[in-house]
């Protein structure tokens, strides 16, 4: 199938001659055949004409959860990837939080196979330790050979410092990426929301910023000692941004991400005990949000993620204490970012991060494989139930005013919208 995109405004700051230009784009057999004004459709070509169509490189998300295997009622790989594609994402990194957790080569192969033939590419993370129990290292090398792009005990902090040291050392000869969730579990205690004025007012147990920062400092010291490649998924405090900046200045091989909702909401949203806003790391205070946005702008925070976490209504429509952590994010990612930043920045943020996971970054050029996000950056709307494409419906953005919406994406020779 050939595709002709009509009057698409190209957002690609790396290409001065195309950036912000409106062009027709012809895609033949999965590759960009021609980029020019006013192309006419050849036979057997699907012509795509969309209001205020913009295109950029396909978007990337470094922290996405589905539910297969084990939690298919939350999300399947097929519908999850379809949701990603319709939301503009052509490459996603899948968190290792299925049941059982993927901690062996065959688990990784299963995930890769389940994702075959989809528009969006799935890159699985393997569990760092066996069953993500934080005790013994899983077979990292073997998983890497099967397609794991990094190793992570999903949101489960590594309590054993020596284990992180060993993981960072061991992974060096095969260039493995080690992820460590920044949370000192003892300091966090039974906390479930940001410790601050809001938690005090609501009587909810707080997670002090200290719990994140203490663990992060530890991890950075271990990285400095051991070497290796460390990725810190989803930081949430102002001091964490500072710590990462200092570590980078020292030349440490560290990257970090931030969840888009941590850039958009503060813990003030918790006032009504609405479990939609219960996420890990928690929504923090206004000063943290400000510092995180600044960190993103300055590049201290390497990339943003939707931290997409589908959960059944049964896991959310309960007392706040008993609700599970997480929100959908893929469908709203662009609309939220495009509210916080200008469109070029929002798009730039959605493109960044692939190289950290060893994933090739595509280009928009004649002859190159077509890997494109299709979107309208100017449409303003209230994010509603109809905007949710996931099997689960737990979006904290329901009712929020967003700006910009993805039409879909083109990748692997297919258009999905």
């Amino acid at each position: 199938m050939n595709i002709l995109l009509k009057s698409a405004k190209i957002i690609d700051e790396t290409q001065k001659d195309l950036h912000l230009k409106t062009r027709d784009i012809l895609i033949k057999n999965g590759n960009i055949a021609k980029i020019a004004p006013n192309l006419s459709a050849e036979p057997e070509t699907e012509t795509v004409e969309l209001d205020n169509l913009h295109v950029s490189l396909g978007w990337f998300d470094s922290s996405v959860s589905f539910g297969e295997p084990g939690f298919e009622e939350r999300e399947t790989i097929a519908n999850g990837l379809s949701t990603a594609a319709k939301s503009g994402f052509t490459d996603i990194v899948l968190n290792p939080n299925a049941h059982p957790v993927p901690d062996s080569s065959s688990d990784i192969v299963f995930l890769k196979n389940a994702a075959r033939g989809q528009v969006t590419n799935l890159y699985p993370l393997g569990s760092l330790t066996i069953k993500s129990e934080g005790v013994d290292l899983a077979e990292l090398f073997d998983m890497k050979n099967s397609g794991a792009v990094g190793f992570y005990d999903y949101k489960s902090p590594l309590q054993n410092s020596n284990l992180l040291k060993i993981a960072l050392q061991y992974s060096q000869n095969f260039d493995g990426l080690i992820c460590s969730f920044p949370l000192d579990a003892k300091i966090a205690g039974k906390g479930i929301v940001n410790e601050g004025e809001v938690s005090t007012r609501l009587g909810l147990k707080g997670i002090p910023a200290l719990s994140e920062e203490l663990q992060l400092v530890r991890d950075l010291f271990i990285l400095e000692y051991a070497g290796g490649k460390l990725h810190v998924p989803t930081i949430s405090t102002a001091t964490s941004v500072k710590l990462i900046a200092e570590a980078k200045k020292k030349g440490l091989n560290v990257t970090c991400s931030v969840a888009i909702h941590n850039l958009f909401y503060t813990d003030e949203t918790l006032e009504d005990f609405d479990s939609s806003y219960k996420v890990m790391p928690p929504l923090r205070g206004a000063n943290d949000v400000k510092a995180l946005i600044q960190g993103v702008k300055e590049g201290t925070i390497d990339f943003v993620t939707s931290d997409h976490t589908p959960l059944n209504i049964e896991e959310k429509r309960v007392e706040f204490d008993n609700a599970a952590y997480g929100s959908l994010g893929l469908e709203s990612a662009f609309g939220v970012l495009n509210q916080i930043f200008d469109t070029e920045t929002a798009v730039d943020l959605l493109i960044k991060g692939r190289e950290r996971f060893g994933i090739a970054t595509p280009t928009i050029a004649e002859g190159a494989p077509a890997c494109l996000a299709l979107f309208n950056p100017d449409v303003e709307y209230t994010f509603g139930a109809d905007d949710i494409l996931s099997t689960s419906k737990n979006s904290m953005f329901l009712g929020s005013k967003l700006k910009g919406r993805a039409y879909g994406s083109i990748s692997n020779g297919q258009l999905r919208r």
């Binding site: 004025e197 007012r201 009587g203 909810l204 009504d272 005990f273 007392e319 706040f320």
Partner: protein
């Protein structure tokens, strides 16, 4: 008579000053009623109230039940221990099942903060929060303020110190909101481990020296050390806690002025206060219990009048 600004009593923070005055004036009337030989009024003969307790309680449950019965409401009681909650039923289902039996009002105690607010969002009855985790216990704060008003004439301008485990205490939080709303000055006192780090953002002072706190205050509200809520050790021993934060008669007598002693009960005698303090004329602990019934009658009566 006026009416409340709210449909539910979920917390003091959702009330305004007028609501509190209205509740107090209504409670004045009911206090007179419960001291008559016939302690009952027929006001709520057409109202059915479910007391749903997901957490143990003796006095609050008794107090609510008595208040309901003295208003002639039909009352059903339900405790989590004997319920299908243990079989995995959700809170919404449990309450909706009870409501299907034509219940008008739910009085609920629950271990999770915000449970009452959650319920009010999802079910159709009027909800009275009888304690939700470490969030609020509004009727306790109302009866505490009512008791201060009764003893000292007014709450406004009074200095009140709340002593003990503030971190796990819904009584402390509701009292802070209620006292601040009525213009009292509030300090909290206890070991730093049991004071929320951001407690001053609620407009209260922090004092870790008990003697200083007592010399400052007109009223000391002594909270119980809730051993059942302490998941880790916040102080080495109860003995050491008492040495620093327990009130005994000697300490009380050595103060510059005569202060009022309150306690929401149940008392750990010899821990937060000694027996001679609890039973002294400065203590209004039993007045609090009596006022609890009048306050709960007032709250239920006023909320019921919004159902009709």
């Amino acid at each position: 008579m006026g009416e409340l600004s709210v449909k539910h009593l979920l917390g003091i923070k959702y009330l305004n000053e007028k609501d509190i005055q209205l509740i107090f004036e209504t409670a004045d009337h009911f206090k007179e009623v419960i001291n008559r030989s016939i302690k009952k009024v027929p006001s709520l003969r057409d109202i059915t109230i479910a007391n749903i307790f997901f957490e143990n309680s003796t006095r609050t449950k008794l107090s609510f039940e008595l208040a309901e019965k003295r208003l002639s409401a039909d009352v059903i009681n339900f405790s989590a221990g004997q319920s299908s909650v243990k079989k995995g039923e959700t809170l919404i289902d449990t309450v909706n099942n009870i409501l299907s039996m034509k219940v008008d009002m739910v009085v609920m105690r629950h271990p999770n903060p915000g449970a009452g607010i959650f319920l009010a969002r999802h079910v159709g009855a009027s909800i009275v929060n009888a304690g939700d985790g470490a969030h609020e216990h509004p009727t306790q704060a109302l009866l505490d303020s009512y008791s201060i008003r009764e003893r000292l004439g007014d709450v406004a301008g009074k200095n009140v110190v709340i002593v003990g485990d503030i971190l796990h205490s819904r009584v402390a939080l509701s009292n802070i909101f209620a006292l601040r709303l009525q213009g009292a000055n509030v300090k909290v006192c206890g070991p730093k481990t049991l004071l929320p780090k951001y407690i001053e953002s609620l407009g209260v002072g922090v004092e870790t020296d008990l003697r200083k706190a007592l010399n400052w205050c007109d009223v000391a509200n002594m909270l119980r050390i809730q051993n059942e809520r302490l998941d880790i050790s916040y102080f080495p021993t109860t003995r050491e806690y008492t040495q620093q934060f327990g009130v005994n008669k000697r300490l009380l007598d050595s103060l510059d002025k005569e202060i009022v002693i309150m306690h929401p009960g149940p008392i750990n005698r010899g821990v937060e206060i000694t027996t001679d303090v609890a039973d002294s004329k400065q203590s209004i602990i039993l007045d609090q219990v009596e006022n609890g019934v009048a306050i709960r009658m007032a709250v239920i009566y006023l909320l019921a009048s919004k159902i009709k």
